[in-house]
Every structure is written in C-alpha cells, then in structure tokens.
C-alpha cells in the first residue's frame, strides 16, 4: 500500500513531492508489508510487535488537516484505522490528554560518527533523538571521513540499523571531501540512499560549483542544503556582531555574512530551477529574502533552529561556551524576524542543528571552543514553550514544521498519519512541565544553553515503524 501523494502547499517542494510519488523512495531498509521481521539486534527488545491502539488521543495530522480526538490503530507496522474499537489482543496506549502526532523529524543532526565518537555516536545520537520525540533524523556529512562515498552512507545505515533506535536518513556532501572544488558522486550517493546534499559548515564558496550542484541535484530531485555564510566576513568571529560583541571585545560574525550568501543561493536556485533549502536561518534579511523568493515561486525552503528563536546574543555576556554556535545567537530584532518567518510560513521547518561537543572541547577559552550546541532533547519543549504557548504557532502548524515539512523537503513518505503510512508516531504530553537536566541527556554530550530551563511539553511515546521504541 502506498501513501497518497501529498498535495504540496509549499511552492518550493510541490513539484518535487509529486515527482516523488511516481518514483520509489530509495531506502536501504524498506519495511516489508508483512510480516514484520524480528529485530536484527537481539539485544534490543521489541516492546510490541502486535497491533497497537492509541486511545483517546488528540490526533493532529497536518497532511490530512486532521485535529480530533480518536482511537488510532496501528497494525503490521502501518497506520491501519481511525475510530478503532479495541478488540482485545492489541497493546493499548491511553493517550487521554495527549497529542498524537506523525513521528517527528529532525532534518539537521550531527551524529559525529564516523570520526568524532568522543562527541556522539550513531547509537547515542539516535537514542537522544527518540528521547526528544523524533522518529526520524537526517544526519549531516561533516564527519571524518565525510559522507562523500557510497561506503560511508552504507556505514551509517548499518550502524543505525544496529542501534535500532530511530530512522536515520543521510545527507551527503555536495563536493568531494567537502572541499568545494568538484562535485561528489551525487548520483551514486542517491543510489546508496542519500536524501539531500550539503557541505554544511564549509559553505560552497564557488558560485559556479553551487550552480552546478543545484542543476545536478535537480536531476535526482534532491535539495541542496545551504549553510549560508560568507567566510571572509565571518571567519574570525565568535558571536553575532552587535552591541554585545562590541562591549565584550569578542570578534563578530555580521548578519551580512548570512544575508549575502542566502541572496546568492536564492539567485542561483532561481536561475537553475534547482531545489534550495536554507539551513538554520537566523537574520532579518535572510528571512525577508526567503519571503520574497517564495512569493515569486523560487523553489526554496528553510529551517530555523530552536536556539535562534529562544535566545539572543546578550546570553554571551556570561562568556559561556554553551552559547557559542554558528550561525550565532543574534540580536533581538533577528530573533523576532525568525519567529515571524515561522509564523507566516516563510520558514517551513524546525530543525535542531544538534551539534554535540565533548566537555573537554567546550572547556577551552571561548575563542577556541568549537561552535555548536546539542538540541535533540530540548527542541520539542522549546517549540511548545517559546512558540506555541506565546501564540506564535498553533499545534498543527508546529507539528507540521517538525514532521510533514521536513518530510516534503527531503522527499520522504513520512510525516503523515494517513492510512497505510509507515507507523511513525509521536505521543506528546502538551502540559508536562519539566526542567532541562543535561545529566539526564541520552546524548553523549551535554553542551546545551538551556540547562535548568523550565519547559512545557515533551514526548511520552515514540513509535517507529509500528514498534514502540521509546516510552518515558
């Protein structure tokens, strides 16, 4: 059974989603129709292989514009029925007072393996993803070796399969060795299962190469994910350039470093018809450039990270390295612009940019500390606390940005609870009040700027392919 093609409403992914429906999504591990196989890893208990009824939950599924209390039946690893009546024999999950959402997707996660296992491994990163409510994550290729060959893609799929936590999708390099010189073997990487292409923290500096990447990826209908940054403007910077950086004497990363690159990449996407996705949008002008590009039909999408709508550059007054990330925490006007972009749909998706770093790396003086903060386990709570509770987003919009939107951007048959879809489900307690305690993270690293924060809302249950993989 196939999932009904999505009626895309984002100009950037509309055509792509339709084309995807005609083509089999390339996955190394397509879940067979039935029977569901035993877990390949005997150490991981399968909590339930039987049918599951999620009772009395408020099901929010933006793909069907559904928002109602119902009983949801999962059978054979797929969404089987609504308004189901328990017949005995099923596992019953009481979701009274809870929200039942499509399995959440975080499309920007640094799993660090291979190469930086002191920071995170595929096993710990996927465990952190489950604890944060994510049924699927897309990992970023700045590993060592970088993900620029089929072999590394297969290694990641293999490790993810052994970890047997959440789904792991692979973003591969745009250029060989992320050097920005020549294209990686994108066609073969697509065959190995790569869903998108990015050189991430080493932005494609050469405009000609970026143009070719957009053109070439469009042949496979894959997006190019842009970490938009002009290095000449940012390379010595530690934090956002503004009043705070001036007072602290820290080198600044001007907003223009992002603005210029976003504008260049939009122009190239417009010229080539390629699919551009702008990662971690953080400035007033890049939000505005995206808004205008979308209005004239450029195939561009964008994501924002929770720290960019929750914190501003004044946090650096503590000189705490856990507030150092790239793009940096910006001034208040930029934070407001990101929130406005999320509210009006200019920014399609929310992605954590989970960037674990071991304690010893973060203990250095702030100039030397690497950029990045963990985010998988705080993302949902920040969305609820900083976007839903203040009224910037309603629940369906927020869930859409954390499931359906990233699925469409990456061309996945996910992010939906339509009958027949793979049963990736996240059950959220929207009222849970909890305190962020880095000591309790599943992630191998604890470099969060949110330690001690009181948040509302968290995942209670995560079901991946019909199996309960996480239960609080």
């Amino acid at each position: 059974m196939r999932v009904t093609p999505f009626a895309g409403d984002f100009p950037g992914v509309d055509a792509g989603a339709k084309r995807m429906s005609e083509r089999r999504f390339i996955s190394r591990n397509p879940i067979p129709e039935s029977p569901i196989p035993e877990s390949p890893n005997p150490r991981t208990p399968i909590i339930s292989m039987r049918s599951i009824i999620i009772k009395n939950g408020r099901v929010i599924d933006p793909s069907q514009e559904m928002d109602r209390v119902t009983n949801l039946l999962i059978a054979d690893g797929r969404i089987a029925a609504y308004d189901a009546v328990p017949g005995g024999g099923e596992t019953v999950i009481d979701a009274s007072g809870k929200i039942v959402a499509p399995g959440l997707i975080d499309m920007h996660v640094h799993l660090r393996e291979p190469g930086f296992e002191e920071d995170e491994t595929i096993e710990t990163g996927t465990a952190a993803a489950l604890a944060g409510g994510f049924a699927s994550i897309a990992c970023i290729p700045n590993t060592d070796p970088p993900i620029d060959t089929q072999g590394v893609v297969e290694f990641i799929h293999d490790r993810a399969e052994r970890a047997d936590n959440c789904n792991v999708l692979v973003t591969a390099c745009v250029s060989k060795n992320r050097e920005g010189k020549e294209l990686a073997e994108i066609g073969q990487l697509v065959e190995a299962g790569a869903v998108a292409f990015s050189d991430d923290g080493s932005p494609v500096h050469d405009a000609e190469l970026m143009r070719r990447a957009l053109e070439y990826c469009s042949m496979f209908d894959k997006p190019v994910l842009s970490h938009a940054e002009i290095r000449e403007l940012s390379q010595h910077g530690v934090m956002h350039e503004g009043l705070t950086s001036m007072l602290l004497g820290l080198s600044g990363i001007p907003a223009a470093a992002e603005d210029v690159m976003v504008s260049r990449d939009i122009a190239l996407a417009e010229a080539t018809g390629g699919r551009l996705h702008v990662m971690h949008v953080s400035t007033v002008n890049s939000v505005e450039a995206l808004r205008r590009a979308k209005a004239r039909g450029v195939r561009v999408t964008a994501e924002a990270a929770p720290h960019h709508f929750s914190l501003c550059d004044e946090s650096l007054r503590t000189f705490d390295a856990n507030f150092k990330m790239n793009p940096p925490l910006r001034g208040r006007e930029h934070v407001e612009a990101v929130i406005a972009g999320l509210s009006d749909g200019t920014i399609d998706a929310i992605a954590s940019d989970h960037a674990p770093h071991s304690k010893e790396k973060k203990m250095q003086d702030i100039d030397r500390v690497p950029f990045g903060v963990v985010g998988l386990e705080t993302s949902l709570g920040l969305v609820v606390t900083k976007l839903i509770e203040p009224g910037h987003l309603d629940w369906p919009a927020a869930i859409g940005k954390m499931s359906l939107a990233p699925a469409r951007i990456l061309g996945l048959d996910k992010g939906t609870l339509q009958i027949g879809a793979e049963a990736d489900v996240t059950i959220i307690d929207p009222n849970a009040r909890w305190t962020v305690d880095p000591a309790k993270f599943r992630s191998k690293s604890a470099n969060t700027p949110f330690a001690g924060w009181e948040l509302t809302g968290r995942a209670e249950v995560v079901i991946v392919g019909g199996r309960v993989k996480f239960q609080r």
């Binding site: 390379q235 010595h236 503004g242 009043l243 001036m246 007072l247 602290l248 004497g249 820290l250 080198s251 503590t318 000189f319 010893e360 203990m363 250095q364 003086d365 702030i366 100039d367 030397r368």
Partner: protein
C-alpha cells in the same frame, strides 16, 4: 628607607569582591574606594616608603598567556611592596603549547597554594572562566579587547590627581577603540564617575554603536580637540587586527597622530595620557609624549599604587 607608617586598618566592609574582572561590574563607590586607597599608596611611595607589609605570607601568581612587561612587572612590584610573594608564570615555559586547557593550567598553579592569580589572556572572558573554576582570587590583567581594569583605574587616578576631579570632564579616547581593552575599562570607569566621553578614530575602528551607551563618537580628531580636557591616545593593536583597518600607518598618523600642530589647537591645560607601549610617531609625536602636558610616566607610577590597592582590597585582613 623608612619603615611602614601606612595604617589602612582592615579592608572596609563595603568591599565584598574576591575578584577584579572588569570595571563594568563595579559601582562608582567601589571605583572611588580603590582610587582613594591607591592615593594613600601613591603618597607613601612619594614619601619614600618601599615596604608596606600588609600582605605578608600571601602569594600572587602572574599567569600571563600574552606578552607583557609593564603590567606584569607592575603587579609583581605591587605584590612585593605589600610583603606578598610574587611568582611569574609565562606561556613560553608552560605546558599550554602542549595542548593543556587554560583551566587545567590555572588549577595546577592554584594547587601549589596561591591566593591570587593575575591573568592576561588573548581571549575575552578567560578571567571569568578562571574565577568560575578556581577557589583563589582572580585579577584581570587584560583579556583580549575586553577589559584591563587596573589600566582603566590608573588612567582615572592619573586624571583625578592632575585635574582634581572626574565629574564633568570631557575625556577623548583616540585610536583603535575596536581592539582596545583599555578603552573599554576607561569607558566604564569614567562613565560611572560622571565624565563625558568621546571615542575618536577611523570609522573602521570606531563603531556608531557607542552612541547607544550615551558616548559621543567622532572620526575627526581636529574637530574634537578644542573641547577636550583629557586625551587618552590608544595604541594601534596591529596584533589583533585580521585585516588592516586603514590604508597605511602614514595615513593614520596624518589623521590622528597627536603632534605639536594639533596640540596648539587643544586647550592649553589639556592632559595627555597614553597607556603604552607607545608607538612614537604613530599615535603621538615625541615632542608631545615628552612635553609638559604628558602624564605618560606618571601613569606608570600610579599603576603600581593602583595594583597595591587592588591586591590589598582583595587579599587584605578583613
């Protein structure tokens, strides 16, 4: 040599700080207290007292990750004159080059039993990082372009001694404002004590954002000269500039060097400071640096007095 006749009594109860990290966090009262005590030490020095053993048995370590001669020796001398032991630890002899973190280095030194670490580091915030991780006191001797509180204090003491007040004076900081920790410490201290501040230099080194703090900014030294009471000529921090912020040293000197011609446009009693090391001919011409308006050497003397006051307030008997 005279014996100790300076009796300061116990450290005033109004002084609560264990660290001196910057002037931004100090109140006007705290700054005035330091200046008043420094004045006592300065007068004692002027009357020939070289030993004022108020910190006998205490140990201060100069932990300098960046080159310094003046500040390091000034701290050492201040500590020794108070009867404390002073030890130098410089990066050339350290394990930092072997990849040790600054926290580990500092903890190792603390473990040898020290009461205060005087730290200089190229990165802003490093003194705070150490204060958060050590049990001993931390005194900031310059953290990148952030703060250099004892330099700010000694500049302000010099102004107060020469002009008799701070409140109501117009003080211009001229030069590399962007990269100068001396500028920031001067700005916080002078602002709290009621001076009017002008920052002046090329537009690549002087941000209009200073206006957000109520500070005037100017790109023309010639324009502001007639109305300033004090000129503090900051060194161009070539070592902190990644791209050259002006076309040439020649052009900079042409626009901003304080020479005899410019001096003629200033008030006759203008006071000229330079936090050294000075680049003669760049920020200031020799005839001005050595002239009667210059307080450059007086600043150095006041530096020892200020550092004695700071060490005593932080480590003295309570």
């Amino acid at each position: 040599m005279s014996t100790a006749t300076v009796d300061l009594g116990p450290v005033p109860s109004s002084w609560k700080r264990r660290h001196l990290l910057g002037l931004e966090e100090l109140s006007a009262e705290e700054i005035t207290l330091i200046l008043d005590k420094a004045e006592v030490f300065r007068q004692a020095m002027d009357s020939g007292e070289r030993r004022i053993p108020l910190l006998t048995g205490r140990t201060c370590v100069n932990l300098f990750f960046e080159d310094s001669t003046r500040t390091r020796n000034s701290f050492s001398l201040a500590a020794r004159r108070l009867g404390a032991e002073a030890l130098d630890f410089s990066t050339s002899t350290s394990s930092l080059s072997k990849g040790e973190t600054v926290i580990d280095t500092a903890k190792n030194i603390e473990a040898m039993g020290v009461d205060a670490v005087v730290v200089r580091h190229r990165t802003p915030g490093t003194p705070l990082l150490l204060a958060n991780n050590l049990r001993c006191s931390v005194i900031n001797a310059g953290d990148g372009p952030h703060e250099h509180p004892t330099q700010g204090l000694l500049d302000i003491l010099t102004i107060r001694r020469r002009k008799g007040r701070i409140k109501g004076l117009t003080v211009a900081l001229v030069g590399d404002i962007a990269h100068s920790r001396t500028a920031r410490s001067n700005i916080w201290g002078l602002k709290k004590l009621g001076a009017k501040i002008i920052v002046c230099g090329p537009s690549t080194l002087v941000s209009p954002r200073w206006a957000e703090l109520g500070i005037e900014y100017s790109y023309s030294l010639d324009d502001i000269l007639p109305r300033v009471d004090v000129l503090n000529l900051l060194r161009i921090q070539f070592e902190r500039q990644y791209t050259r912020p002006f076309p040439s040293v020649r052009e900079y000197a042409h626009l901003y060097a304080m020479d005899r011609a410019r001096l003629a446009k200033a008030k006759s009693d203008v006071l000229i400071l330079a936090p050294g090391p000075i680049n003669r001919g760049v920020e200031v011409a020799a005839e001005v640096a050595d002239g009667p308006q210059s307080a450059i050497l007086d600043q150095v003397t006041n530096g020892v007095a200020v550092r004695m006051a700071v060490l005593w307030l932080i480590l003295g008997q309570r």
